[in-house]
Symmetry: C2
Subunit: 158 residues, 2 copies
Amino acid sequence: MTKETVKAIQDVYPDDYAWCYGCGRLNKDGLQLKTKWEGNQTVTTYTPHAEHMAIPGFVYGGLIASLVDCHGTGSASMALHRKNGHEIGDGEEPPRFVTASLHVDYLKPTPHNTELKAVGTIEEIHPKKWKIYTEVFAGGINCAKGEIVAAVMPDTFK
Amino acid sequence: MTKETVKAIQDVYPDDYAWCYGCGRLNKDGLQLKTKWEGNQTVTTYTPHAEHMAIPGFVYGGLIASLVDCHGTGSASMALHRKNGHEIGDGEEPPRFVTASLHVDYLKPTPHNTELKAVGTIEEIHPKKWKIYTEVFAGGINCAKGEIVAAVMPDTFK
């Protein structure tokens, strides 16, 4: 299977959990972020829309926060899925995570009209709780870094 | 002047800085968040749209992050404006801030179809750098808390 044909984790979320504005494939008005493996790291790319500006020429911070967030929960799902012996697209439903906390440091103004690339590094801190460190690049420049703590979706969400 | 006639800080941002997807009054596709004083605290209310879900019934985390972010930069602008001897709508342009860092703790799933209320408490940590603590309520329930460090907009943004 070539890299290009590997599905994103969001492509195999159960339908009931595929509605997130940030990363739900069924949310037609949302960002539809897609997260894939790249070696032992995870990658999500997204090109902001014209309206996603802070001021003309720069991307607004909330979009970068959403990217770090959904990239992080997707990455945690991928990591636990792999730990459980599964890979994206093998027919097994992956676990779903929610965000316990989100932190973003805005390092530089993020230029608009450029594809953003979030690169994630995953750390297990508990069998049901994972930390994902993410760097966000725009045209190769590291404009933001962030991390989330993601927890396996609790019953209160179901 | 009654409370209801007091303008929001975003109503008096200079036009060039009124395009933010989160809080720009000129961004017709954005959230158009509005932040006002309530005593010595600041308040922003927003009712999420139908598409702003995490899963059906609950608001997605990126929207809450955007709310904490734009509410925070607006609050910082209001605080420095007041410190400089001005009030919203007195004809003086307020200072504009950018977010240096953003942190959000998601305390409970945030119910959809309910107005969100962000309540901010402001701390000056440097003449050009402010910290804003924010609690986000949905129907009176504190669903998230967050803080940002906001800095006066640097020349790299201009």
